[in-house]
């Protein structure tokens, strides 16, 4: 039964493109088999999201970014608690959770969110996140598919990483990944501006994003473009007159 499930999902992963095994395809297969509107694979290390390996357009990418900005959500809980997380009615949850994530996710159009840990042995590598624009739980079958896909994601990640040069991320993993490079660049710049460590600078950037309801990556882009800077007391101030164009730039 489980072997049959694995065979069927593996067949879909390989798909019409032939035997090219890619992690990007997994998110699309996940959206199809779970009847969802978005999916993403989040990387998790040292208690925090490190960006995503893949995300479907729209809801998948939006929620990945919301979680990265706010540091909470279904994928992060799935990683921290090492178990599947389900919120089938995000707009009216039975018990309140994710004080910051929930309003942003609902505003982005999500009504139900699910997270599945991606683990190897006892180690959690990340999470498969699934979201829908309508409320309601996953069926047992969809839930079982998502669990197997999370397992497959772990296998594929290791299989691809096994071929990488030492110290490098496998090229195949890199292709669809969004590691939010611009956020780390901005942390470096803001740390000099404020005279604090880069980790502390990231906390300040996050706080500013939360306070202004602007996505962290957009805040970061403004810092890197030098249209926003932080003073040593941590206050943000526009740097120059140009209005930032935060919506469309790609991370370098």
């Amino acid at each position: 039964m489980s072997a049959e499930r694995r065979r069927r999902l593996l067949g879909r992963l390989l798909g019409a493109d032939g035997p090219l095994l890619g992690i990007e395809r997994l998110c699309h297969v996940c959206v199809d088999t779970t009847g969802s509107d978005g999916a993403s694979i989040m990387l998790f290390h040292d208690g925090a999201s490190r960006g995503s390996l893949c995300a479907t357009d729209g809801l998948g990418a939006l929620l990945e970014e919301v979680q990265f900005t706010l540091g909470e959500g279904p994928g992060i809980d799935a990683c921290r608690d090492d178990r599947p997380v389900a919120e089938p009615d995000l707009a009216a949850p039975a018990a309140p959770r994710w004080i910051a994530f929930t309003p942003s996710a609902v505003a982005a159009g999500a009504r139900a969110v699910f997270g599945f840990p991606i683990r190897v042995g006892g180690v959690v590598l990340g999470a498969l996140q699934v979201s829908r624009d309508r409320r309601g739980p996953l069926t047992d079958d969809q839930h079982a598919d998502a669990l197997v896909l999370a397992d497959m994601a772990a296998e594929i990640m290791l299989l691809l990483q096994a071929g990488a040069s030492p110290g490098e991320l496998a090229v195949e993993l890199e292709q669809g990944a969004n590691l939010h490079a611009v956020v780390h660049q901005a942390s470096g710049m803001a740390s000099v501006q404020m005279g604090v460590s880069v980790d502390h600078a990231l906390v300040r950037l996050r706080a500013h994003a939360f306070r202004t309801s602007i996505p962290l990556v957009d805040i970061a882009r403004r810092v890197v473009e030098r249209t926003l800077r932080f003073s040593p007391d941590g206050e943000a101030a526009p740097d120059g007159e140009a209005a930032p164009d935060g919506g469309n730039g790609a991370d370098p």
Binding site: G121, A164, G167, L169, S187, V192, G240
Partner: protein, 247 residues
């Protein structure tokens, strides 16, 4: 159940118990060697495992006399353990007195150590042989069929445990590599930001300065980046064309 069957069952439980928390290959194989002696009634037992290069090493022995003889076997490059490992088959109950031609160096040494008969079982799962189990006896009474089946079962449990342990270790190694690569990337981006802000250059100029410093001082880029982020290094921006005009 006979008392031997009870002992065999107990040994299986002990071996399985060794597979869970804090698994250690040497501990497992030491338990196995000792149990071969107490359960099978042999005089001594020892285990050899092949290293990554395929060379056998003595991992566990039930006695010092046994360990020295196994080391001799490896040095002499002949004997039951080696044969069993290379062929993948058991070397069945060989009387050492009649094995002088087969093992001209090993047989006399084994007899001098007080042994009379040997038996070796490969540690094998399907096509893969990872080592061998050696059983030695002071007399030529032999091991009965039930004892041989038990020895085979012990060897199988040990083999599966070791192969699983190796697979998990390899996975964890890859997970570590992946996370190291991610951290490296993050630190490099952070360092680019630090240099860009301090030296008033763009990200490309900052990256070039980091790379130049790494090249000039024969350092790894990620180490240079880590030092910049920690505040202990300030690489110079060499090329003026990379400077961003200050407003």
């Amino acid at each position: 159940m006979t008392s031997q069957q009870t002992l065999i069952a107990e040994t299986m439980v002990t071996l399985a118990d060794n597979l869970v928390a804090d698994f250690d290959v040497i501990d497992l194989l030491t338990v196995l060697a000792d149990r071969c002696v107490s359960v099978l009634g042999v005089s001594a037992a020892g285990l050899m495992l092949a290293g990554p290069d395929g060379t056998l090493r003595v991992i566990a022995s039930s006695s010092e006399r046994m360990r020295l003889l196994e080391l001799f076997e490896l040095q002499a490059e002949e004997g039951p353990c080696l044969e069993s490992y290379l062929s993948g088959d058991a070397v069945a109950q060989v009387d050492l007195e009649s094995a002088m031609d087969r093992w001209p160096r090993f047989a006399p040494e084994a007899i001098a150590s007080g042994f009379r008969a040997v038996h070796a079982i490969p540690l094998r799962l399907r096509g893969e042989v990872i080592g061998a189990l050696n059983l030695f006896q002071d007399d030529t009474r032999g091991i009965d069929d039930e004892g041989l089946r038990a020895a085979r079962a012990f060897a199988d449990v040990a083999t599966i445990a070791i192969l699983q342990y190796r697979a998990i270790s390899r996975s964890h190694e890859l997970v570590d590599q992946l996370n190291t690569a991610l951290n490296r990337r993050i630190v490099i981006e952070q360092a680019k930001g630090v240099v860009a802000e301090r030296e008033h250059v763009d990200m490309e100029g900052a990256f070039e300065a980091l790379r130049q410093h790494a090249r000039d001082h024969n350092l790894r880029l990620s180490d240079v980046a880590a030092a910049v982020v920690a505040g202990s290094l300030r690489p110079t921006v060499a090329s003026p064309r990379l400077r961003r005009p200050t407003s």
